[in-house]
């Protein structure tokens, strides 16, 4: 019943999105105008990239124009990664789809409307997948919960809404940024990781889970990392999910091995007590071995994808223009991230040092967050997604959209958030200021780069506030549930726990 309503919601949202995109297309190039015959949805992309999504809707890595250029060059037998063409390239895997534009422009889809619909479909379908994966993640997380309260059923239908109708996601999709595909692939990897079963965990009560989930998950993460390298920092929490479980255990923190041991004892010999010292050591090494296995499998997929890419292109140089870009920031096109302005201002001889600093800054969070939230790896992954959206080298609006949608999966932390309302307000300010200041700078000519950068700083503040609050609330649950603090009602005084607002 609920499953059905979730599907209905997704279908309705997708129908709305397609109609919206089509309506916008007709509005921008009415069928009577010359432009209608000339373009295939490019007017909409241009409108978004120069209008509401100026600078923010797509980064150089995910820009539709770059994708089209690479495909065009590849179709004509030229090397898309050759010197002088551009420092930022798309993944060679996209080149395998070089027959798509041909389909769209001739052949069976000669009709303008069909061709337009095909283009819209290509960039709306991934969002449908994303929403579906989000619901599956939620179901995997909630499946083991003892009491399913009334709010959990409504979440299956709210989750698709907050992803599919989020302006962040809609703008990226209309701008045909490849990041919508990247999001779908990442969510797929997470969903399958949540549904997978391992020797350490009980089988989730889901119809569609099977033993291949683990491999699918790793393959999808390898694909996501292949498309854009930043997702590599999500590998550790994903491995933890694969070995452990996605269910909500924020309230009962403890070492990862303990949970695995508990589950194992439940699974194998229910009467066995918790493991003693040598058994624990044994367990540790088992876990380590399993983790190495998973890591090895991931590396195999990743290498395979890299080999396929090399076969497609014919040389290895694609690596520096695709993976290298997120590390070395060759294009300083303004984007909602924090890197470009900093590196524009800097003297060139400091560049290598600060590139290392910025990259290490991203890596720095992985270990502490995975250790602190080892009892709930999905939550660790959620926080790392937020960190990526805020601090990575080429973020776009869709990264923020993903982070915002992820919040829907963790309703248990809402009561412990300290400042959700101010965070939302800061986010709204930044969402309104970004297009405005980008226009003051680039189209009115009255502002300058500092305006836009200031607005993205406001956005980074919102991201930072959200991350800090997520960490706070995630840790606070345990404190509250364990009753370590006496909740005293003192006359006329706030409860200590509620330092919020």
């Amino acid at each position: 019943m609920h499953w059905l309503s979730c599907r209905k919601t997704i279908t309705l949202c997708i129908v709305f999105r397609v109609l919206f995109a089509l309506g916008l297309d007709f509005y921008l190039s009415p069928p009577t105008s010359y432009a209608y015959y000339a373009d295939n949805g490019d007017k909409v992309v241009e409108f978004i990239n120069t209008g509401p999504g100026l600078l923010s809707a797509s980064s150089p890595l995910t820009l539709y124009a770059n994708l089209k250029e690479s495909l065009w060059l590849y179709q004509r037998g030229m090397d898309p990664y050759g010197s002088g063409i551009g420092q930022v390239g798309v993944s060679p895997l996209y080149l395998a789809f070089s027959f798509f534009p041909t389909i769209a422009e001739s052949g069976p889809l000669k009709t303008q409307l069909l061709s337009k619909l095909f283009g819209i479909f290509l960039w709306t379908a991934p969002d449908a997948f994303s929403a579906w994966f989000l619901v599956r993640i939620w179901k995997a997380r909630a499946s083991s919960r003892t009491s399913t309260n009334s709010s959990s059923s409504s979440i299956t239908f709210v989750l698709p809404l907050i992803y599919l109708l989020s302006p962040y996601v809609i703008l990226s999709s209309l701008a045909r940024s490849t990041s919508v595909w990247e999001n779908a692939i990442l969510l797929g990897a997470i969903a399958w990781a949540c549904e997978s079963e391992s020797e350490f965990k009980t089988k989730p009560k889901l119809n569609n889970s099977n033993s291949k989930s683990k491999s699918k998950s790793l393959l999808f993460l390898a694909l996501r990392v292949h498309l854009s390298l930043d997702a590599l920092i999500l590998l550790p929490p994903l491995i933890l999910i694969l070995l452990g479980s996605p269910e909500s255990r924020l309230a009962e923190p403890g070492p990862f091995a303990l949970y695995v041991a508990k589950r194992r004892s439940v699974k194998k010999q229910p009467e066995e007590k918790l493991p003693n010292e040598p058994a624990e050591n044994h367990l540790r090494s088992t876990i380590l071995r399993a983790a190495l296995n998973v890591l090895f499998e991931f590396m195999v997929y990743w290498t395979a994808l890299a080999l396929i890419s090399t076969l497609i292109v014919g040389h290895w140089r694609w690596m520096s223009t695709t993976w290298g870009t997120s590390l070395s920031l060759p294009s300083m096109t303004p984007n909602p991230g924090l890197w470009w302005y900093f590196f524009t201002e800097m003297f060139d001889h400091f560049r290598p040092f600060f590139l290392v600093v910025f990259n290490v800054h991203l890596l720095m969070y992985v270990a502490p967050i995975c250790i602190k939230f080892q009892h709930d790896p999905l939550y660790a992954l959620f926080i790392l997604v937020g960190i990526l959206a805020t601090f990575k080298s080429y973020p776009t609006l869709s990264d923020h959209g993903l982070f915002i949608a992820f919040w829907g999966i963790f309703p248990e932390v809402y009561p412990y958030l300290r400042h959700p309302f101010p965070t939302t307000l800061v986010l709204i300010h930044s969402a309104l200021l970004q297009p405005l200041f980008a226009h003051l700078w680039l189209s009115h000519g009255t502002g300058n780069a500092n305006f836009y950068y200031a607005s993205t700083l406001v956005g980074a503040c919102a991201g930072g506030m959200a991350i800090v609050d997520a960490v706070w609330a995630g840790l606070r649950i345990a404190l509250e549930r364990h009753g370590k603090r006496e909740l005293k009602f003192v006359e006329g005084e706030e409860r200590e726990i509620v330092t919020q607002q």
């Binding site: 307000l425 300010h429 200021l433 000519g445 009255t446 502002g447 005084e493 200590e496 607002q501």
Partner: protein, 621 residues
Amino acid sequence: MDGQGLRLQAFLRRFFRPAGDPNLARINRRRTMFSFIARRMTVLKLALFIAGYVWIFSVPSSQLDRGVYFDENALQPGQVNAYWNWKEVHDADHFLGELEILRDSNATSEQRSQFIMNEFLRIGLPASTQNYEFTGLSKGLNGTNVYAILRSPRVSGAEATIISASWISRVNEGDGTLNLRGVATVLALSRFVKQYSLWARDIIFIIGDGYMEGMQAWLSSYHGVTQSNLRAQPLELTSGVVWTALNIDYPGHSLSHLGIFHEGLNGRLPNQDLLNSFQYISRRTGVPVVLYDHKDELDLGWLPDNIRNHPEIKTYAAQARNLWRHVRYQASGRGSGVHGLFHQYRIDAFTIFAVPAAGPHGFHSLGRIIESTLRTTNNLLERLHASFFFYLLTSFDRFVKIGNYLPSVILISVAMMFGGLQVWVDAAWMERRLDKHEEGSTGMVWVRRRRPVLEAVSIVLGTHILGAACFFFLSHKWYQSLPFTSPLLWVAAYILPLAVPRFFPQNITDNIAPLSLVLKAFNLCLSSTVISIISVLNFSLAACLAVALGIPLSVASSSSNGAMGMVRYTMYIVLGFGWLLLDETRKQMIWDWDILGVWLLPFLCVVYYPLSLQAALVCII
């Protein structure tokens, strides 16, 4: 270190690092701080409001502004000997005579554009005409523009400057007075500049038909912008990127002062250096400059003499008059004339308005000033970028910097934000009397309650959707053609929201906060956000919003008395949607949106009306 220093150090250490658990101390310190602020929140809000309003009303005073100055060294204004002389004045008189004959013979716009084009061609400039026609709401609005291009004799012509005049003058915002002398000046100028080879960029001469619409059509075609309700002929001649434009408006017989009109569409302003150069050149040439057409002093006869003649008061009154005019132009989004259309294409432009008078100046002075200004802009090596884009002119040679006027509105917006946050926190708590059997039974306790966030968000979204629907009706064809549409729409906008309380029945329970409180919190925070963001884009609009919404939204509260609630509801709806019943204003706004794309109408419908509607709903929920 001496004893005093040590004691200070010890004190500081005690203050920042007190004995005991540092975390506990930190929490205590934070709580003390928050409760200190929270207890004084009402006073703080009031102080912010008062500071904001006082600041807004002291912007015209001479304490906050300063003299203008040049920032772009390349301009070199007034450094040339002007060549314009009596021969050119004679040309202008000749063209004027021809134009007057055309006027008297009731020539159609086709005929007069043919005449002007022929004159351009006779001078030796490539010239052409452009027909345009508006469809949709303003069906039948059509005309013909004429333009000519002087190819730059010195460089490749990648850049251009525009000299324009519209057929109808801006007197009384385009009431139909003809701008014959302005057109004659442009024709004489085109003949004049042809003789010299010093131009570093192309000069485009345009005579726009009508008041604003002709130039809108021409500029849209030039920049390749398609407007769905405009059918304009493509231009036969084109040139490069336009950097600056001068629009000449000379409706009278002679002139005594030259006026500056500079506000553009949707609150845009040109670079201040352009205005500075013009007023500097004009005064050096001997023609006094004024802002707008304010050449007469404001009549303050109703004030006692000793106050009226106080220099500070006189300055304040004069500057307040200028600013009030500015606010009206900028907040309406319509701009103050034809030059306003240029700003959207990143062209710095303003109108030189010859204030009608019996004398003493005429074509001679005007021509010299325009020539000198043209040669100043000719010196530019890059787009004007150095001086200010965010400023308020209090007089032609004084202005208020952004740092001196922006805080006024931001203070009010912060006060509203604080108010919203306070209501949001208040909604989460309620005081309850302790039951008798509980220990310490004397007092009251604070307990938390749930806040109905989802309901409030859906009301907020609903009001904005209703506003969007109103906008859809207002900008539709039927609206003009059917009778009584405005009162009907008004009544609909008044009655439809009354159904909202039925959808959200009030459940008086202890553990759920009243919906009106949460709605008010959202309303205040949203309004604050809108005001502070608009303040960068269009300060006048933001100031108007701050004055119109600041206090009223903050005092909205639900009333137990039904009739009282309805009175308040009505007042908020009138505040938010009253403009619909003003016939002239409404028609003007619809025309502006339809032809020029001025954002005021959609803004009022989709943002402003919903904000006051939310406050209205707070009163009846």
